[in-house]
Subunit: 122 residues, 2 copies
C-alpha cells in the first residue's frame, strides 16, 4: 500500500489542523482503533488504542496551540516531518514525527522525537 506524496502531506496537515482546532476526540478519530502513539519516543510509555490516544491529547487541553509544518518527507504509507507547536504562547517545540497510515488514511502509528533541548521558552 502506498500513497502519493501529496496525499500523505494532506493527512499530516489535517492532523496538525485538528490538533489546533479540534477536540481530543477529533484528533483521536484520525487514528485507527488499534493505533499506537509514542510521544516523546524513548520515555517508555506507548499509548495503545484510540481511547488511550484521546486521553493523551486531553492532557494538552486548555492551552492555545498553534502548529506549523516545517519539513515533510513521504515514504509509501508513512511520512516523516518536522513541525513547530506553540503552547499557550509560552513555549515552542519542534519535534520530528513519523506516522504510518492504513488504507483508510488513518494513523496506525505515531512516534514523536524530541527532548527538552528542543523546547524554546517564548
Amino acid at each position: 500500500m502506498s500513497f502519493e506524496p501529496d496525499a500523505l502531506k494532506a493527512f499530516v496537515n489535517r492532523y496538525l489542523d485538528t490538533v489546533v482546532n479540534g477536540s481530543a476526540d477529533d484528533v483521536a478519530a484520525l487514528y485507527a482503533e488499534d493505533a499506537t502513539l509514542e510521544d516523546p519516543v524513548g520515555c517508555g510509555e506507548v499509548h495503545i488504542g484510540r481511547q488511550a490516544i484521546a486521553g493523551f491529547y486531553k492532557n494538552l487541553g486548555g492551552a492555545e496551540l498553534t502548529t506549523e509544518l516545517l519539513s515533510f518527507r513521504p515514504g509509501g504509507n508513512e511520512a516523516a516531518f518536522i513541525f513547530a507547536i506553540t503552547v499557550g504562547g509560552a513555549m515552542r517545540i519542534e519535534p520530528i514525527e513519523v506516522m504510518t497510515f492504513n488504507s483508510d488514511g488513518l494513523i496506525t502509528a505515531m512516534k514523536a522525537y524530541w527532548s527538552p533541548a528542543d523546547v524554546t521558552q517564548l
Copy 2:
C-alpha cells in the same frame, strides 16, 4: 535501554562521517549483523543483514560525498534527524532518517524518508 542525547548524536555523526570517509564495509560495520535498512522508505525494498547493507553502500561508491547534520532529535535508543548529502558535487538530498541502536551502539534499523522532490541539482 536508553542513551543520553549526546551519545545518540555521536552515533549519528560517526555514521555521517563514515559515509563520507569510510568504505562500504566500514559503514556496514556500524550496523548490527541482523540490521535492516530501508532507503527510501516506501519503495518496497528492505535490505536485511550486514552483507546486504554493505551492498547498498557499495552502490553509492565512487562519487565524492559530503554530509551535514541539519537537525537532530534523540529518543531513548532511537534518533531522528535531517541531514544533507551531496553526491559528486552534482546533487543534494535532504532526507529525514530514523535509526534504532542496540546496547553496543550498533544500528539495528535505519529508515530514510525522501522523495525526488527532496533532491536538488547543483
